[in-house]
């Protein structure tokens, strides 16, 4: 078998196993183990691969950003920072049709700057935003769709667990990846707001809703009290990374400490809920890093098979155009997005494309943004769309079926696709902030 055959057979095997319900890291690890054995006829080499992947992967300094930013996101949700920013945004947008939807997007974009994951965003905002929209007689599908769509911002606007994972796979600086994510994240938020405006203007029935006169508006003092903590946190975290005062790891640790202080001052945590938050952090970290470890075993297996070299040769002889490579990437990611979670998609697809992108002299930072946004679309698409699952589970409302969540999210998935095409066409959107 040529390296290419091994690569293809292993991908098919992994996809079949995942579809059958095998734990994703186990599927990646087992296929890699067996592939090396089949390829070299040497079981020792399979064990060697296992040793080196397990030993290397967890011992990565920058991976400390994963528990730190996860913890920070969880603790600031507990401290009520998401609810605060939502209340402020909502008051600001109260006179516009679909304004509450725009407020949800805006609040999500701000909250995204202090949380590393979309799951936190999805659960925080489905609890606050959806009941409020239903009260104002918005179409339920629109209500859940807005929350699902904007939860994705949590993973694109830094800090982001996915950008961290990408920077490990592609050996890029976490700090640079974070900075590159700022403009695309804001762009996506603006595109969502525009889409909501468009839907409110041309498809009012799909949006629904009526404007309620709010009788008790917040004064400036209360607005300040609700926004200053989160702004302070953003300044410490992103400001620290942007100016170089702190490494991303240090920014995460400082943000976590600040989050604890805010939650403690507001009396929103006790020892018990603090402990639960830490356990949750540990679970998420262990699951992600075990997945990364298994995926790094898989990527190294492809390396030993010589797949990257083969792909480069193919690229050199066939002169594939930029357009076709990108088209292939997007189609593959959308397809995998239907059944896989974002981290798995990035870990499986990126190693296949890196040699091509590198050989074409394209920026690996830009490619990371493209890969992460493309993979994130999968959060919104059935049958496996994690953001939609979380919203359904958090709402726990029989009037809203999982199908409604997916249908409501569909327009937002489409907007993401449009933004993705913009990001591919105009790399400066991702890279300008770095220079």
């Amino acid at each position: 078998m040529t390296p290419l055959d091994i690569g293809l057979v292993s991908i098919v095997a992994i996809i079949v196993m995942i579809y059958l319900g095998v734990y994703i890291p186990i599927a990646l690890g087992m296929v890699s183990f067996v592939a090396i054995w089949a390829m070299r006829g040497n079981l020792d080499l399979s064990f060697a691969l296992l040793k080196i992947a397990i030993g290397d992967s967890a011992m990565e300094y920058t991976f400390a950003t994963i528990p730190l930013f996860t913890f920070m996101g969880l603790i600031v949700s507990k401290a009520g920072l998401g609810a605060d920013i939502y209340a402020v945004m909502n008051q600001g947008c109260r006179r516009i049709t679909g304004g509450i939807g725009m407020a949800t997007v805006g609040a999500n974009a701000v909250f995204a700057a202090v949380t590393g994951s979309s799951i936190a965003s999805a659960s925080v905002f489905s609890k606050m935003s959806v009941p409020e929209m239903l009260r104002q007689e918005y179409n339920p599908r629109f209500a859940v769709g807005v929350v699902a769509g904007s939860s994705v911002l949590g993973m694109i606007i830094p800090p982001s667990a996915m950008l961290i994972i990408y920077s490990f796979v592609a050996e890029q600086s976490v700090g640079e990846m974070f900075l590159a994510g700022v403009v695309p994240g804001i762009l996506l938020a603006i595109a969502y707001v525009a889409a909501i405006w468009f839907m409110g203007r041309f498809m009012p029935r799909a949006v629904g809703g009526r404007i309620l006169e709010q009788d008790d508006l917040m004064g400036w003092g209360e607005i300040a009290a609700k926004t200053l903590p989160i702004i302070g946190l953003i300044v410490v975290v992103l400001g620290g990374i942007y100016t170089g005062w702190t490494t991303p790891v240090e920014a995460g640790a400082a943000g976590s400490l600040l989050g604890i202080l805010i939650a403690a001052v507001r009396r929103r945590i006790n020892l018990r809920s603090f402990w639960e938050t830490v356990i949750e952090t540990g679970h998420i970290t262990a699951a992600i890093l075990f997945l990364i470890t298994a995926a790094s075993m898989y990527a190294r297996m492809l390396g030993i098979a010589g797949l990257p070299n083969e792909l480069q040769t193919i690229l050199a002889t066939h002169e594939f155009s930029f357009f076709w490579i990108m088209a292939l990437l997007v189609v593959l990611m959308l397809f995998l997005g239907t059944i896989l979670d974002t981290a798995s998609i990035i870990l499986i697809v990126v190693p296949l494309f890196l040699p091509l992108i590198d050989a074409m002299g394209l920026s690996l930072v830009w490619f990371g943004i493209v890969a992460v946004v493309a993979a994130e679309i999968g959060l919104l698409t059935p049958p496996l769309g994690l953001s939609c699952f979380v919203i359904k589970a958090t709402l726990d409302d029989d009037r809203i079926a999982l199908k409604d969540v997916f249908l409501g999210a569909l327009p937002f998935a489409f907007v993401m696709l449009l933004v993705l095409i913009l990001l591919i066409r105009f790399p400066a959107l991702s890279l300008a902030i770095l220079n």
């Binding site: 296992l50 730190l68 400082a254 830490v278 075990f290």
Partner: protein, 161 residues
């Protein structure tokens, strides 16, 4: 569970150590030279001390739509498949344990360390030992899944997406 609790404590230690380094370096001109090693070390501890618990509560990343359908339509076949998957997972963790054990012995014998002598060093063997014990515990939990068949009905969303 002890592994889980100590893994959890490490998260707190991680936050504390990094903040200590920031303050010690920024204000007192006395950076903590072991910060990088301690962070690396804690990552291994967090991951491998928590992994058995992640498996125990059934939150390891998977896509179980097909399995759920099978369980509803053909309960016997569905159970058979789920057991097969857990058995294979147990086997994988055994392979990990088998791969790591000699590493532990070697590190124990040679007293190998990481870091720079005179600046900060930490021994390797505890890292390898934790991974080995974790792999053994994970194996046990996968096998327990087969005999209890619980804990895999909640949605799986751990990969953080």
């Amino acid at each position: 569970m002890a592994a889980n609790a100590s893994g959890t404590l490490v998260v707190v230690v991680l936050i504390a150590v990094v903040n200590y380094d920031i303050i010690a370096r920024g204000i007192f001109n006395k950076p903590f030279h072991g910060a990088v090693e301690v962070v690396q070390f804690s990552m291994v501890l967090i991951v491998f001390l928590q992994l058995p618990d992640v498996i125990r509560v059934g939150r390891l990343t998977r896509s179980d739509g097909f399995l759920t359908v099978m369980r509803h339509r053909r309960p016997a076949a569905g159970r058979w498949m789920a057991n097969g998957i857990d058995a294979m997972s147990a086997l994988f963790m055994v392979l990990v344990a088998v791969a790591i054990w000699p590493e532990f012995l070697e590190m124990w014998d040679t007293k190998d360390y990481f870091g720079v002598p005179g600046v900060f060093t930490a021994p390797w063997w505890p890292v390898k030992l934790v991974i080995f014990l974790s792999a053994c515990l994970c194996t046990v939990h996968f096998i327990l899944h087969i005999f209890t068949r619980t804990g895999d009905d909640i949605p799986h969303q751990e990969s953080g997406s």
